[in-house]
């Protein structure tokens, strides 16, 4: 076991290395570059036996991964923001063709204006491409999730690509302690990828050709069913990982929700800062907890319903905005609850777009405002916007 103080970006690289990825294709973009720099060194030193294709664009990065995965290799890439947007077409391709590619996306705001700082609009915009999405909150989780993502995505019942997501700078460029288990133990947890469907000289088949309306619909049904089945696989894999390595993961993380009246719905690093806020508010006597949505696709509707059934108020804090609607976690949370017999009021707050720092005081004040019925229920609460 190695414990190291490493960047979030390097946690991705180590995670990919320890997952023994076979083909990497990537294009540099701030703030992702350290991921591919370290992977290049791993490949150059022979520490990782992988083919690294240094492509000319992110679109090609994903396309190369698609090709590699189609031929049965474990494929990996990393990107951010504009790069992810450029990949968009191939994200659909990867998912529709059922390639269990794993990608790290560093959440970075979309331009213009140029911004290199974090918010979730880049990955949220890819919500409907059929990728699993895991929003990570610590470097340890980044490393652990990279490895788990392969196991989840390559599962026969899933066979879908997965995206692990980390905040620009707040995680990508922040060094934290990361515990990396010995390679043999990871190999046991994550055996080599044996593709059930692949390009094969001995069984030559065509993949992805024209399909008339008589069957396309059924394929989409199957794709969605696989997403639904992934809910259980994610929990199973997270549990197995915990049993082996002592760190348990699931669809959501609950924090001090047992007797909570108010629950914050948060994600990514905002969730970590919010834990401090919850601790301080608890000290002041507020019965508050939080639920961190780790898995956004598939969306953990049942978990949200269960938590909602026990509380008086939910406040969803989004670091993204669906223009003309509202924060996307807010929409999804409400949608999960709409048909419940009793459900708490759900408030929506937007915060920290373009990397504006989210501080403990911000979260505390949001919660207090909610508690005092000062948040607006049918409007977006734009936290900290200069009006």
């Amino acid at each position: 076991m190695v414990k190291k103080v490493i960047y979030g970006n390097h946690a991705v690289s180590y995670g990919a290395r320890d997952s023994r990825v076979e083909v990497i294709a990537a294009y540099p973009i701030t703030p992702q570059t350290q991921v591919v720099e370290l992977l290049s060194e791993f490949c150059a030193s022979g520490e990782l036996k992988a083919k690294f294709i240094k492509v000319e664009s992110e679109h090609s990065a994903m396309a190369a991964c698609v090709g590699a995965s189609a031929a049965g290799a474990r494929a990996f890439t990393a990107t951010s923001s504009q790069g992810l947007a450029l990949m968009h077409e191939m994200l659909h391709w990867a998912s529709n063709a059922r390639h269990p590619i794993v990608m790290a996306n560093i959440n970075r705001a979309m331009g213009p204006p140029w911004s290199i700082w974090t918010d979730q609009n880049d990955s949220i915009a890819q919500r409907d491409t059929g990728w699993l999405q895991f929003y990570c909150s610590t470097n340890q989780e980044v490393y652990d999730t990279t490895i788990q993502a392969f196991k989840i995505c390559e599962n026969d019942k899933v066979l879908l690509p997965g995206m692990l997501i980390l905040d620009a700078f707040v995680l990508s460029h922040t060094s934290e302690v990361v515990d990396m288990p010995p390679q043999e133990e990871i190999d046991e947890f994550l055996p080599p990828y044996e593709a059930k469907y692949k390009l094969d000289l001995d069984d030559p088949r065509a993949f992805g050709g024209l399909m008339f309306p008589d069957w396309y619909y059924e394929l989409k049904y199957k794709q969605h069913r696989s997403m639904e089945k992934a809910l259980k696989i994610i929990e199973d894999v997270g549990r197995e990982f915990g049993e082996r390595f002592g760190r348990y993961y699931g669809l959501v993380e609950e924090y001090r929700t047992d007797d909570a009246e108010i629950v914050l719905v948060v994600s990514s690093t905002v969730a970590q800062t919010s834990k401090e806020a919850v601790d301080l508010l608890r000290k002041e006597g507020m019965r508050i907890g939080l639920v961190r949505i780790r898995t956004f696709r598939p969306f953990p509707k049942e978990k949200i319903r269960k938590i909602a059934s026990k509380v008086d108020m939910m406040i969803v804090i989004d670091r993204n905005i669906s223009f003309g609607s509202e924060g996307v976690f807010y929409t999804e949370t409400k949608a999960a609850l709409y048909n419940e017999k009793s459900r708490p009021p759900v408030y929506g707050v937007i915060i920290g777009l373009g990397g504006r720092d989210v501080r403990v005081e911000d979260i505390m004040n949001i919660a207090k405002k909610g508690k005092n019925n000062k948040l607006e229920i049918n409007k977006i609460n734009w936290w900290g916007v200069k009006l």
Partner: protein, 291 residues
């Protein structure tokens, strides 16, 4: 019968290409040349349809359909996977002119610059035929397409993709024509044994889009060469060799007049095309002489 090309057929009948399709014929030759240990990658183009549809395939080798602009890079990805798994096989990208000259040129250039070990074949029918004959940058000067009406035919010459590929300093660039299958097959077999990026540009007449007779496909593919409109040459490690040198090139008019897409040409237009053709042919002869 006397056979001058390999007998083995690796393409099934029942393909849904138009009567007299040059692209269908080109694939038949390519698979004969490369054999069973070949992976084929096809981006959006006529062959996206010809190869299927679900649940059927017309090829006896593994085939991956991919997005329009990704033939070269998906092939790179497949090759990388095969290399890491120790599988020795040829990966062939098979794209139309739109997917090569236009939307696919970025990933093609990237793959060529990296010298990916793939064969990239562009079957050129000189327009977006699968979507219904829209102009591409491979469409010749003054040609009619549905987006270059006769009143305003294409105002710019065909892009010289071969020289663009030569400029990448890849080990092998060649042109070919479906009228000369022995030459095309020899080039593919040569390419198969060269490591690095190989680019082969094959002229594949399209009766539907060229407004020509289906039975004229070979005739046109031959006339294109004999008029020097589409010279057949190869560039190996930067060295030029013209493989078919018409002693007395035929007038371009013979080629143009068989195609409805050039029906509107005036005598002056034809003269202009003849002059441009002569100029380009001379330039190529000089290149062969000097390089």
């Amino acid at each position: 019968m006397k056979l001058t090309i390999p007998e083995e057929e690796l393409m099934y009948e029942g393909t849904v290409d138009c009567q007299g399709c040059g692209a269908g014929l080109a694939m038949r030759y390519a698979l004969k040349a490369l054999g069973k240990r070949t992976f084929v990658v096809i981006p959006a183009c006529c062959w996206s349809i010809i190869a299927g549809p679900f649940p059927y395939s017309s090829l006896q080798v593994p085939l991956y359909h991919t997005a329009f602009e990704t033939a070269a890079v998906v092939s790179s990805g497949i090759k990388a996977a095969l290399e890491i798994k120790g599988i020795d096989a040829t990966v062939m990208a098979w794209a139309g002119d739109g997917g090569t000259f236009d939307i696919g040129i970025q990933s093609l250039s990237g793959a060529a610059e990296r010298n990916e070990d793939i064969i990239y074949v562009c079957y050129d029918n000189e327009a977006y035929m699968n979507t219904g004959i829209q102009r591409s940058s491979a469409t010749p000067y003054k040609a009619w397409t549905t987006t270059t009406p006769r009143k305003y035919p294409k105002a710019r010459p065909k892009k010289n993709i071969d020289e663009i590929m030569v400029a990448h300093e890849i080990p092998y660039v060649a042109t070919a024509s479906v009228a000369y299958p022995e030459d095309f097959i020899r080039k593919l077999q040569k390419a198969k044994n060269i490591k690095g990026t190989k680019f082969i540009h094959v002229l594949a007449p399209c009766p539907t889009g060229w407004r020509s007779l289906p039975e004229h496909t070979i005739k046109l593919a031959r006339l294109a060469v004999q008029t020097c409109i589409f010279p057949i040459y190869e560039v190996e490690d930067g060295k030029y060799k013209i493989n078919i040198k018409p002693k007395n090139p035929k007038p371009v008019e013979e080629y143009l007049k068989l195609q409805g897409r050039f029906r509107h040409l005036t005598e002056e237009d034809i003269k202009e095309i003849q002059e441009a053709t002569n100029r380009k042919w001379k330039k190529l002869l000089k290149k062969e002489e000097f390089f």
